[in-house]
């Protein structure tokens, strides 16, 4: 059924374009005009569906969300700044902001450090390809799947019985006391973050690994001849060389972190002080029949946090295009 509809769409577009483009002019005078017309129209035929969809699903919603954030729960009555006033006095919201900041500090930095470390190590052993492949694998696993995997690792069976959760088993083996890890406020945030780091390190590793390989050997050799040791080489030559790439990876993971939702929903649903903005937003979309005003306000806060990256991306793109 799905594929049928898709094929229909494809042939529809195809036919329409074909018809308009193979339109053969009949008299000399009209050829030029028609060609001119064609070259004016055809770009819009090519980009039309894309622009329409982008407009509907991304551009229009941005403005609509801004509007809705000044509206009440149904999205119909104007209530001024009430949603913002609510947000910045609501302990749940403030906690979500705090937790998001914590995520923003920890996840991108640890993912980058681990990615860089593994990329460096994997380049130096013969089984590096296998190692990279295995580290990279979590990228293919959904956040929910990863949550199940890690919930099993963090599983707690109660005191004095054998533990089937890997983490508790290790803790017990070293003489510690088993814990219900994801219910310990504050620290549980880190146990959730580990899941995302587990997923994103592979990404960082691949991108940074490619950049590492792009560092010219001559520069390294020159530095070695000048007497730099390997650690100096790494921090003073290699890292500055791939600085832009590190920034790209960092910002990409930052954006993923800002939108993090599935892991928190599946692991705790914001209980035990683990709330984050995206989960809170989803919650308000449906809580008590849904509050579109508050939901939009929270979405807008996420958008504002993304905005600097958006500007930086566009600026970087403009620079590249000029080169």
């Amino acid at each position: 059924m799905g594929v049928g509809l898709c094929a229909f769409y494809f042939w529809g577009t195809n036919w329409l374009l074909n018809r308009l483009l193979s339109d053969k002019p009949d008299a000399d005078g009209i050829i030029i005009r028609k060609q001119h017309l064609r070259s004016n129209i055809s770009p819009w035929l090519f980009t039309g569906p894309a622009l329409l969809l982008l407009g509907t699903y991304l551009v229009y919603p941005v403005f609509e969300t801004i509007k809705l954030s000044f509206m009440d729960r149904t999205g119909d009555t104007f209530i001024g700044l009430a949603n913002y006033r609510w947000a910045f006095t609501n302990p749940e919201f403030l906690q979500a902001v705090t937790n998001n900041v914590l995520w923003l500090v920890v996840v991108p930095s640890l993912s980058c450090v681990m990615g860089l470390l593994i990329a460096t190590l994997a380049d130096r052993v013969w089984w590096g390809t296998i190692a990279r492949s295995l580290i990279f694998m979590p990228m293919a696993i959904s956040f929910v799947g990863a949550s199940v995997i890690w919930k099993f690792v963090y599983d707690y069976n109660g005191p004095d019985v054998s533990q089937i959760g890997l983490l508790n088993a290790i803790v017990v083996a070293f003489g510690g006391k088993p814990q219900a890890w994801i219910t310990i406020p504050f620290w549980n945030n880190f146990f959730l973050m580990i899941i995302l780091i587990w997923i994103q390190t592979g990404f960082a590793m691949v991108i940074l690994g490619a950049a590492l390989r792009g560092v010219p050997d001559e520069i390294l050799e020159a530095a070695r001849i000048d007497g730099a040791n390997e650690v100096q080489l790494f921090f003073h030559i290699v890292v500055p060389q791939i600085r832009t790439t590190i920034l790209v990876v960092w910002t990409t993971i930052t954006i993923i972190v800002l939108k993090i939702f599935d892991i928190v929903l599946a692991m705790t649903n914001g209980q035990w002080d683990t709330e984050v903005l995206a989960n809170l937003m989803f919650d308000w979309m449906f809580r008590g029949g849904g509050d579109f005003g508050r939901g939009s306000t929270i979405a807008l806060v996420i958008m504002l946090a993304v905005f600097p990256v958006l500007i930086w991306n566009i600026r970087r793109f403009k620079q590249q295009e000029r080169l």
Binding site: G2, L21, F46, L53, L121, M137, A140, S162, V306, I314
Partner: protein
């Protein structure tokens, strides 16, 4: 990818490098391996022992009740109740037993419990017991004894049978496919046309529009959820159709996937040699012909890269499915189903592990089979120096 073994020797010890990387790899894979092994374990063993001991026998403390007064027979003035705690032919073995719940391992096999009233109790490794007493048992329900039983490792497909059958995960699998395939193909087609136009056609506003696309790359999904949901609800009530439909989610995934698709494909298409496209133009080929006959075949690697991205993204998506699809059996996708199971069967690891594996097996296969394209796509998406 060619590797150079000599660069960046950050760590000098060769053995140290091997060991350190090995530890990281083990830490990274152990959680998934644990899930995989557990999904094949017998559910009774799964709850008492960790997956790392899956290949050795597991011990369990439990209790059994001997037969009641109705089952006793009198031989030579002695009242005897015999029976077995284990099923005949069971692979389980009893290694210790006791009369009190706090010491189920007080007696070894071969020993006999002597009660103060003169009764004795004996239990064998195969589960068969005999209770003997000079006085007759009076209660209808038999006395309770405690024992430690070991069972050899059991691996089974029962968990998968359970989740695919009674948990209806098979239907969710089909639903996920129904969402994923069109939601992967549609954006590729639309984006390929747009990317061609952005690379090889001249039209007013081209640069501005493409910059908008670059900006949209990072606009969070959350911005779109409420407006699009309202839009769908309005369309739904206007035409008296269900607001939550497959068509709706295909279009949503298409819209959200387009910025990356256009960006990746445009980067690739604009790097194709200008000469061949211009000479084709001079030969009188239309843009449409150049696009279908030259650019699309040449762009297969980029198309494949994006297809893998989009496939994985849609397959693994939970948020869009929760908002734009229903939770009835005919619409619930794997991720959404898995999340519900996590809520309602939080402690039933035999169900969760098997379900999770069903949900991740397709992306994993796609990933391992097409890793090359995936990596290439990642690189071209974020590294354009």
């Amino acid at each position: 990818m060619d590797r150079k073994h000599t660069i960046h020797p950050f760590f000098s010890g060769r053995l140290f490098t091997h060991l350190f990387l090995l530890v990281i790899v083990v830490v990274w894979t152990a959680p998934t391996v644990g899930l995989f092994i557990s999904s094949f374990r017998d559910k009774d063993q799964l709850v008492v022992s960790g997956w790392w001991s899956a290949f050795s026998s597991s011990e369990k403390k439990t209790a059994g009740r001997i037969g009641g007064a109705g089952e006793q027979i009198e031989i030579n003035g002695k009242f005897i109740i015999c029976g077995s705690f284990l099923k005949k032919g069971s692979s389980k073995k009893i290694i210790a037993f006791g009369a009190r719940s706090n010491e189920p391992d007080a007696y070894q096999i071969g020993e006999t419990i002597r009660h103060k009233n003169g009764a004795t109790f004996r239990l064998d490794a195969d589960g068969s017991y005999c209770w003997e007493s000079p006085k007759p048992a009076e209660r209808k329900r038999g006395q309770r004894y405690f024992y430690v039983v070991t069972s050899p490792p059991v691996f089974t497909f029962d968990n998968y049978r359970e989740v695919l059958g009674s948990q209806n995960l098979g239907q969710s699998f089909v639903n996920t496919l129904t969402v994923t395939i069109p939601a992967t193909i549609i954006p590729i087609m639309i984006a390929a046309f747009a990317a061609y136009a952005f690379s090889w056609m001249r039209f007013p506003g081209r640069n501005f529009l493409f910059i908008v696309v670059v900006g949209l790359l990072v606009v969070p999904l959350q911005m779109s959820l409420i407006p699009v949901l309202r839009l769908y609800n309005r369309i739904g009530s206007l035409f008296a159709v269900e607001a939550k439909s497959y068509l709706g989610i295909w279009m949503a995934h298409t819209g959200f996937g387009l910025p990356l698709a256009i960006y990746l494909l445009r980067n690739y298409m604009s790097s194709l040699p200008r000469d061949i496209i211009e000479s084709a133009r001079i030969d009188g080929a239309s843009h449409f012909q150049i696009f279908t006959r030259m650019v699309v075949p040449l762009s297969v690697p980029a198309l494949a890269s994006f297809a893998i991205f989009q496939f994985l993204w849609v397959w693994n998506d939970l948020l869009i499915a929760l908002v734009f699809l229903g939770k009835a059996d005919n619409q619930i996708v794997l991720t959404s189903k898995l999340r519900e199971l996590l809520g309602s069967y939080g402690a039933n690891w035999e169900i969760l592990t098997a379900s999770a594996f069903v949900a991740i097996v397709v992306p994993l296969m796609v990933f391992f089979a097409l890793q090359r394209f995936f990596v290439r796509g990642l690189l071209s998406g974020s590294l354009k120096e």
